[in-house]
Point group: C2
Chain length 326, copies 2
């Protein structure tokens, strides 16, 4: 295996200069830099980042824990986080939890053992702090709050619920329904239902009906039985708001199968504004989550470390994107 001395010999640059360049401690001329890089490439020499991390007792890894990587919303989160992690000179250790608190705990131990610079937690379990010592580990949560001491980034879920109800009532709906994907977990997303109800109450409209998906439905992405149940029990419903675009896409399928015209007889609003919302027939009106802003803030917060200041619960604005389903 090639050493720094070999690179020095081949490039004609001293070991000290090369070492300083690799540690970003000195600016070398473009010409010298090119000579060093060419020699490194030819010799297949790679500075040992593990050794550097060990000396600093801190690696350039950032951990991201998500419940699933194939869920469209979390796919977008992973994509955004990776870009910002990479642009900041860090690397992403991806952890998929399946909503299993034991897996989450194991991931935390693993990430600590690898001296990560920080962890971004976008997974669902709430009782993690009972199992893991969260001290001494820069941590940011996305779309959920763990404790006042942990910075969190959420979209404005209450406003999202309000926007959906206002839009559906404005379009003439008389009986609204909400399909929740929260599976009974205490999440910030539950505020959508509160905002949705508040608007109905304020406007003197019928109070909306609600059905809630199970954790199994979330993992399997299958909501047909729940949708079927809703329309069987409440045939008067003419406007549906669902807590993610995947549920909404299945409402559109159900309506098509049953010959219920969308948006004429039934209006449908999703949540998240994932790429799926542009791919359904008809394209889906939905609440846009600012995934890009949320992920950038979370990564910046980790990279800033202690200089980021006191923990804060940051709330990001949402927006209604009107397409052909309403």
């Amino acid at each position: 295996m090639a050493t720094l001395k070999d690179v020095a010999r081949l490039s004609g640059v001293t070991v000290t200069t090369i070492s300083r360049m690799l540690n970003n401690r000195v600016n070398v001329s473009e010409k010298t830099r090119a000579k060093i890089l060419a020699a490194m490439e030819e010799l297949d020499y790679h500075p040992n980042e593990l050794a550097q991390s060990l000396i600093k007792q801190k690696s350039s890894f950032i951990g991201l824990i998500v419940p699933s990587a194939k869920n469209f919303f979390f796919g977008a989160v992973i994509d955004c986080v990776e870009r910002h992690v990479c642009a900041s000179g860090y690397k992403l250790l991806l952890c998929v939890s399946d909503l299993d608190v034991n897996k989450e705990v194991e991931y935390f131990h693993m990430l600590k053992s690898n001296k990560v610079a920080g962890v971004i937690l976008a997974s669902h379990t709430q009782n993690l702090s009972e199992h893991v010592n969260l001290a001494n580990l820069p941590l940011v949560t996305i779309d959920r709050t763990l404790a006042d001491s942990v910075p969190s980034a959420c979209a404005d879920n209450y406003a999202g619920g309000r926007l959906a109800a206002e839009h559906l009532l404005d379009r003439g709906c008389r009986q609204l329904a909400y399909i929740s994907g929260s599976a009974g977990i205490e999440m910030d997303a539950n505020k959508r239902w509160v905002g949705f109800c508040d608007v109905c109450r304020e406007r003197g409209a019928e109070m909306p009906v609600m059905v809630d998906a199970s954790e199994r439905d979330f993992i399997a992405m299958r909501y047909e039985p729940l949708i079927h149940q809703l329309f069987q029990e409440h045939p008067e419903v003419d406007g549906v708001f669902s807590s993610n675009d995947i549920i909404a896409a299945q409402v559109l399928q159900y309506c098509s199968q049953q010959g219920i015209e969308v948006p004429g007889r039934m209006k449908v609003v999703g949540y998240d504004d994932t790429d799926l919302a542009c791919l359904t027939t008809p394209p889906l009106t939905t609440i846009h989550q600012p995934v890009e802003d949320i992920c950038r803030w979370a990564v910046e917060r980790i990279v800033a470390g202690e200089s980021a200041g006191a923990p804060e619960a940051r709330v990001f604005p949402v927006e209604l994107i009107c397409r052909q389903s309403t």
Copy 2:
């Protein structure tokens, strides 16, 4: 920061025994194990994996390079790979390339510097071997081949093209079309077109027409102009096969907007069998890629290292999944 000695003091177990347990070199009783783990938890002690990796000159990281994490197909690949990586006792370093060869080269250098156990490459660029020394790095490619010396896992793209043509002709289509998402890149997926044409030729059917998406279309996931162009230039087309489900979903949207009945007047077959195929209206007939089998094989191959034997180009069978779009 707590040390191994602190754990020994608190648990009443010797440093030697704890160290042997952590390195899996000795079996300790359940009772002793529980005492050690409780002390580790209380002291927030984590064995330093970086130091262990440095001693072994090999980390327990596996790198995965994909063009995008929000694309539904690659989301499924990431999800599967992470599960198998984790189940094998490794950790996933995720790298998103945006189809940018410079980014891919940088990722390779980074992964080498971190002494990864291996790399799984599912990104599109073909000329990587001109830029990176691929020796001394266990590497497996998914859905593309780099060189005979690099093991690869592909689905049977030729058979996929044949299955689609046979199905559309069996359902009574007379003029087939293929929408390719390969963006002119030399990929194994291009064999789908060969298989598709071979069936038309063998059956004496009209030869299919073809349009090809650009790299920009792939990243943006927007294929409407291409679909519009196809139907303008070839109004006689009554059966469409597309090289991914995202294109097919947009064909369904186009048909709905234009009042072209699916599957009556137009039949549509996608590719990949991503979760999207179950969420379109109507649900999409598509060619199922065995992502689970491909990813498991790729991870096993990396984990086996040199004991995996000679490089091989493994081809996995595909399957037509019939839904309501045909």
